[in-house]
């Protein structure tokens, strides 16, 4: 990265002038506190990640999957971080940074609700008022997380524009910030947005691969041949890749959501997927030049994925650059494969993954032959939040994995999916 926040031709700061002073202030705070550990910021964060967050998270061998795929499969368990996903690494880091900067209020967008949940928890932990913007579609499909945020004392504000998903939630949070920038900090939830967010969010998540690289050397006695992580904006992805990026023998795979199809309906402005790295092209969205799903005119498309956390028309500029350079392989799996992988991991290994995470396991199922002898996957989050969606989506297709829903029919005469 250069000092102006560009990654090759990607990155930059495409935001309204009103926000620029805040972004300059944040860049300065990022350099002082995060990079240079001024006032012991990093030490305090690290302590809190241990005492409050539960770090380090374990890394372990997946015995059944190793046998199934005839190679060594390891899992990095970010699902065991407090809150149930990697998101707390960044949320706690940024709430703490906001405190160091003297800010008085936190705002954030959320898609799956995991970033919102992590932010609400971190804000409660550090005693900061917090407002979370969430698209109405996502509110409907991630209800447990909505309750969790509100239980932690956060205000959850529905966003009703567009399709009511992550893209609209980010736009609306930026609008709030433009009005409240003097005392409010915006905690963006992935490695997207204007500089310094992509670099800073990556640095907060780099702890994942700092631990995982050591743990691999200890547990497996060697570095992995392949590292897999799902990618929406790409924060768990870059966090998992960061310490492996200079290891030449380690292949890095960013697994995006193929949705229902990789094709695009330009007239309707809809891409029924979120495979931005594979199918998007260069554009400017939410403050950064990066790969985006857009039509020929540059209007941003409505994306789709069964998993709310991957359902986004943009992606982190740094990841886009690493894909262009060939350091990261951009791959994708569709909704069906992700659902099947969700059930498979739950049954084979006793780990219920987030639907986002399940995409990485879908890729493992389909392409394990190409992945070398030792593979490590980032389990970016746990799947409790997705159970309602999974029950509905499993019913509506003919999957040969996962429990049947007969039990519900026998008991109640109706199923969870039908009463909505």
């Amino acid at each position: 990265m250069s000092t102006d926040g560009s990654f090759g031709e990607y990155g930059g700061q495409y935001v309204p002038e009103a926000l620029m002073p805040a972004i300059e202030e944040l860049s300065d705070a990022y350099e002082r506190y995060v990079l240079e550990n001024e006032d012991g910021f990093r030490d305090e964060l690290s302590e809190r990640l241990t005492d409050f967050g539960g770090r380090p998270t374990p890394l372990g061998r997946a015995d059944q999957l190793s046998e199934r795929y005839d190679r060594e499969v390891y899992l990095k368990r970010e699902d065991l971080l407090h809150g149930g996903a990697h998101k707390l690494n960044n949320a706690l880091g940024q709430v703490l940074l906001a405190k160091y900067m003297g800010k008085e209020r936190i705002i954030a967008e959320t898609g799956a609700g995991q970033h919102g949940t992590a932010t609400a928890m971190a804000a409660a932990h550090l005693n900061m008022p917090c407002e979370i913007y969430m698209g109405e579609t996502d509110i409907a499909r991630q209800r447990p997380n909505v309750f969790r945020m509100r239980t932690n004392g956060a205000t959850v504000t529905p966003v009703t524009t567009g399709r009511g998903t992550l893209k609209e939630a980010i736009s609306e949070t930026m609008r709030d910030w433009a009005a409240t920038v003097e005392d409010t900090h915006y905690i963006i939830g992935s490695i997207v947005g204007p500089h310094p967010f992509p670099a800073m969010v990556r640095d907060f998540h780099a702890v994942i691969s700092e631990e995982a690289r050591e743990q691999m050397l200890e547990t497996a006695g060697q570095l992995p041949d392949a590292v897999l992580a799902c990618a929406g904006g790409g924060s768990n992805t870059m966090g998992m890749f960061q310490q492996f990026r200079d290891d030449d023998g380690v292949e890095l795979y960013a697994v995006e959501a193929g949705g229902s199809s990789l094709s695009v309906d330009e007239d309707a402005g809809v891409a029924p997927n979120s495979a931005t790295l594979s199918t998007g092209d260069e554009g400017v969205l939410h403050g950064a030049r990066t790969k985006v799903l857009q039509d020929g005119d540059g209007q941003i498309m409505e994306s789709h994925s069964v998993s709310a956390g991957l359902d986004y028309a943009g992606v982190g500029p740094e990841l886009a650059e690493m894909v262009d350079r060939g350091r990261v392989q951009a791959v994708n799996v569709d909704d069906d494969a992700a659902l099947a992988a969700f059930h498979r991991l739950a049954r084979e290994e006793g780990v219920i993954p987030a639907l986002e995470t399940a995409h990485a396991f879908g890729y493992l199922e389909q392409h394990h032959d190409e992945l070398g002898e030792v593979v490590v996957l980032n389990v970016s989050g746990r799947g409790d939040k997705d159970l309602e969606t999974v029950i509905e989506e499993t019913q509506s297709r003919d999957l040969d994995v996962g429990p049947t829903m007969d039990l519900f029919r026998d008991l109640g005469g109706h199923t969870a999916g039908e009463d909505r």
Binding site: V15, P16, E17, A18, P21, T161, M174, A178, G298, I300
Partner: protein, 273 residues
């Protein structure tokens, strides 16, 4: 037509989203604003992610996009428009960047110049990222307007001063666009900060009435920019299915009120100021 020509006396600069609620109606509405005394007109090219807009203009953009507005149609619209005042294209950078076969802003600027656009306001393009667009504007003789926010100070002002031409857009308050009642305390402070700039200063964000325009001009502005209060008239007409001619008349009347207010404001300015 060069933009600063519009500021000979206190200028009234209206904004509408082009294509809201339809191409044909929008043509009539823009012409009505010119008839009502607009000195320059900001023509919004609708973008799907308008992060600087409040709910009023967001809705206008949605209506225009749903009615089929695209950059190509927008340029046809501007070419067809029969008005005699400078025209400013207000849009977001991705549409500027993507237009035409080569990457970068040049093809968009070239086409805009062809159809008679005099300059640009791009709310998501701060001075830091503006060099390629500034260059293209220079090549085709167009102006590039920047927004001075209440939070803009020091070096940021200097950088903007270097790039700006046509007029400077003084953002009257923090936040997004949208009509409000009161005159913001920020306005005077911002105007004072750039008092020695040699470009006209137009204040926008939240101006709603003639009295409001008057107070802003008497505070030292060279003009007022009004968007949401006009878009509200378009939206109401659309919701009530009012005839296009009736809505156009309302817009013309509102334009007169705002223009008169701006002119009154000059009368109140202390002589020599």
């Amino acid at each position: 037509m060069s933009l600063d020509a519009a500021f000979d006396d206190p200028a009234f600069v209206p904004y509408l989203a082009v294509g809201d609620p339809s191409y044909e109606q929008s043509l009539r509405y823009v012409e009505a604003l010119a008839d009502g005394g607009a000195d320059a007109i900001e023509l919004g090219l609708p973008f799907s992610e308008p992060i600087a807009e409040g709910s009023t203009i967001q809705s206008a953009i949605v209506r225009a996009l749903e009615a089929g507005m695209t950059p190509g149609r927008y340029f046809e619209f501007v070419a067809e428009l029969d008005v005699d005042v400078p025209l400013v294209c207000m849009t977001y950078y991705n549409l500027v960047y993507q237009y035409g076969s080569e990457a970068g802003p040049r093809p968009f600027v070239e086409r805009a110049a062809e159809v008679g656009i005099g300059g640009f306001v791009i709310p998501d393009l701060p001075a830091e990222e503006a060099a390629p667009l500034r260059e293209a504007c220079d090549e085709f003789g167009l102006d590039l307007v920047f927004i001075v926010a209440p939070t803009t100070e020091g070096e940021r002002l200097d950088r903007m001063h270097e790039f700006v031409s046509g007029y400077v857009y003084v953002q009257a308050r923090l936040g997004t666009t949208g009509a409000r009642e009161e005159v913001s305390e920020y306005t005077e402070r911002s105007l004072a900060r750039i008092a020695d700039w040699d470009v006209p200063k137009a204040v926008g964000f939240g101006i709603k009435t003639g009295d409001h325009a008057e107070r802003i001009v008497s505070a030292g502005a060279d003009g007022v920019i009004v968007g949401s209060a006009l878009v509200d008239i378009v939206a109401e007409g659309h919701e009530n299915d009012d005839p296009t001619g009736v809505v156009a008349e309302r817009l013309e009347r509102k334009a007169r009120e705002l223009k008169r207010g701006a002119v009154r404001g000059l009368g109140e300015t202390a002589p020599g100021q």
